[in-house]
Every structure is written in C-alpha cells, then in structure tokens.
Symmetry: C2
C-alpha cells in the first residue's frame, strides 16, 4: 500500500514492485498520477483515502511533509503499520493515526525523470516497537544495501546535513557556472575537479583534504578573488564568510 | 626541464616522462626532493637555478605563486620558452625573464600521495606568440585529453571558480561531517548523495538541478534547521546566507 504518487512514491513503489513486493493499492487524490503509478505496479487505485484496504501489511505515506498528519488520520487505521518517508518530520505525528508506526526515509534527492538505483541509497528506519523496526528493516534491505536505524532527532540532523552536502554544494557549482559563463569559459573544465572532490570525501577525514587559498592562509589570493567578486555582492559575501570559516575551523583543529 | 619538486612539479614531470618526453633537468633548491624527482624521471639535478641547461626546449616553472617572478629571473634565460603553472598569476610576470613565455596550468588539486591520472585533468594554455601556443598545446595534448587556450584574466576567473566548486564544496562536506559526528551518525550515509550531486552537475544546467528547502521556499524547514544550528554560530550564518542566495538566484531566473 503506497499513499501518494509523487517522485518519491513512484520510485519507492517501483523499487518494491521490482523486488516482488505486492503493492496492493495506490491512494492519491490526483487521479491521473495515481492511476498511472497503479498500472505500473499492478495495484488498485483509489482517490479516496478512506478506501484504504486494511489487509495491507504496511501503509507507506509518501506525501509532502505538511500533509503527513492529516492524510494519516484520514486513513482511519487502528493498529496497521503506518510509516512516513520524511527526513524532517517526527515519527510521533503518526501516533494519533495508528498504534504501530515508523519511518522509512531514503536519503536522496529524487527527480521524476531519472531512473534511480535504490541499491546504493541509504534507507533510514525508525519504529515505535522492536517488532515494527524488524519488519521495516527487512523491507528496507530488500531494496537497499545501506540501511540504518536512526531516531527522529538523528534523522533531522542527517536531513539538515544533507542540505549542506547536497543542496549547498550544488549552489557552489551554480556560482562557479554563473561566473564562468559571464567570461565565456566552459563549465566543463570544472567537472573533473568537482568529481574528484566529491570522490575524495571520506568518513572522518574530509577537512584533511581541504585545499585552496583559505586553508593555506593565502591572503593575497583571497583579496584578489574578493576584488574580482566586487561586482557580485552575494557571491563576495559567500566567498568571504566561507573562507573565514575555513580559517576558523583550521585554527580550532590545530 | 622542470623547475621545482613539489606536488605539481612531481606530477607534471612524471606525466611527461611517462609519455616519452625527455626531462633533462630538475632544478630545486631543496636537494632531497630535487634529487628524488630527478632519479624518478632520469634527469640531472641542480640546486642552483643558474645552472639551467639552455638547450632545453621548455622551462617549466612549478614553484609557488610568489616565487615565480624571482626564480624566473634567476634562470638567466634570453629567448628560451619559459612557462609557469599557476592559475592566479599573470603570464606577464615572466616577460622580464624571457622573450618567449607562456602558461601551462592544470586545473586540479594535487596531493603528493595520490597517483594522478593526468588524462582527465584540464590543461589551460596561454602563450605570447601563436608559435609558442602551438608548442604548448602539443605538449599539453600528450598528457591530457582536455586542453584549452585561456588568457590570464580568464584563467584567474577559472581559478576563482575552482575555489567555489572544489574548496567550498569540500567545506560543505566538512560541516556535514562535523555535525553528524556530534550526533553519532556516520558520514558515510551522505556519500551517495554527494557523489550523485557532483555527477549531476552539467554544463549550463546546474541550477535547474537545485533541490532542498531554499529552492522550494520551505520556510518551516529552514527555520527548523537554523534553530538546530543556533549552537553553531558560523554554520548557522552559512546556512542562512546560502539559503537566501539560492532564493535570490531563483527569483532572478524566474
């Protein structure tokens, strides 16, 4: 049973279906997306949440963060296992909707078009009982090689750090691309550096791989860069703040 | 002829040597590193820059930015082709040292221990004559599949953008690792996201792949994250500034 038919719902339903899990129902308010996903995983479809089939072993809520609590209640469950899939929402928001609850959170950004290899995507699990945790872990291991039990506060920290490691890195690439474009230089020149930097990031050892003017304390280059960025106020601010933070971090670690 | 025996000098000399280029001399003030590199590429070694063998086709200066001008002059050249390897130094600093000058800049971070596959590292070329440019391009193409002619201002922009795309991304990973460690969560959970984000960065299209609370305008999550970061002043500042910049960038592009 999958509730939702957005990016995450689609990728999860397909991944489970491919591993032989019987997805019996897709519930989704919007008929077009719901029916399409239901066809792909050979499930029934209902627009009405109160039509949920209570025989399902698991109710997987893949809806937006703000909708989780209301949708959960509208299912009318009692003790059926109900999980949400959000990194930033407490498991406890489900507690009024069922007595067996949990979280099934895949740490990745999903876009509709890209085929996702779930095998390498970490799945973070939480549950209100050991038995539920075991059930969710077994399901998680079917589709992912990286599973991990995290409680709600830990999951929120992980979600926040993903903003730094994923979203903010991507914005660093964006700034680089933007500045290069203004000077007629192809962004492709930076691709090997970007890939190598990402590949080199190792557990417990990321800052030891830090290079560049800030970690070298090369004030001449930093000043030159800030001057070049004077026309781009926000980029200059970002350059300045991150450079100072790198220097501070270095001094703290020395 | 390679002047220097640091990371870049070592990787360049080895890459050229492997491609059959005859590296005839290594000049380096520090004997230990200089002799070691000279042995590896079967070259002569001198500590004294004035002992440069003028028969060399190319004098490749791989020394620190601030040493380039002085070392160049101390070679006592007239019209021998002399290049430096820095991203942030103007070609013109060589003009007093020879009448044939250029730049041979590999866009990558080099650490001593890692074996470097030069083939995928972009080599940016500049020269004061078309003939010199051709010579340098031919040499560059021997060791790299990505060569590009850039003038000094363009090279400086590229070097600056590499700070954003490489150094600053690495610091975003560092912040993530630091926060995860404080909560007993393994950094390895973020590795697939980091690699996927880097791999997804495509020319002319990086910002279209931007995800996360800022681009969604999800103020609830951003506030929650800022609150979680309240104990980590600098990280909070960085989160706030980059999030605001993403929102600004989005509005500009809309």
């Amino acid at each position: 049973m999958v509730i939702g038919a957005g990016n995450l719902a689609t990728h999860l339903a397909l991944a489970l279906h491919r591993k032989g899990v019987n997805v019996i129902q897709i519930l989704n308010r919007s008929r077009l997306a719901g029916e399409k996903l239901a066809r792909r995983v050979k499930a029934g479809y209902h627009a009405d949440f109160s039509a949920a089939d209570f025989k399902a072993d698991l109710f997987l809520l893949a809806v937006s963060d703000t909708a989780i609590e209301d949708v959960a209640k509208s299912l009318g469950l009692k003790d059926q296992l109900l999980v949400h899939t959000s990194g930033s929402v407490d498991m406890a928001v489900l507690s009024k909707a069922s007595s067996n609850i949990g979280v099934f959170y895949p740490l990745q950004t999903f876009s509709k078009n890209k085929r996702i290899n779930f095998g390498s995507i970490p799945l973070c699990i939480e549950a209100n009982t050991h038995e539920n945790e075991e059930k969710l872990l077994q399901l998680a291991k079917l589709i992912s090689k990286k599973t991990r039990v995290l409680d709600s506060p830990q999951r929120k920290v992980l979600h926040m750090t993903a903003v730094f490691a994923g979203n903010f890195s991507n914005f660093m690439y964006t700034i680089a691309e933007d500045l290069l474009k203004k000077h007629g230089i192809p962004f492709s020149l930076l691709k090997p550096l970007i890939l190598q930097t990402a590949a080199a990031a190792r557990h417990e050892d990321v800052f030891s791989g830090q290079t560049g003017p800030a970690i070298r304390g090369d004030a001449r280059i930093m000043d030159e860069h800030l001057e070049m960025l004077a026309k781009h106020g926000v980029y200059m601010e970002i350059y300045d703040l991150i450079s100072k933070s790198i220097i501070k971090h270095k001094n703290r670690n020395d």
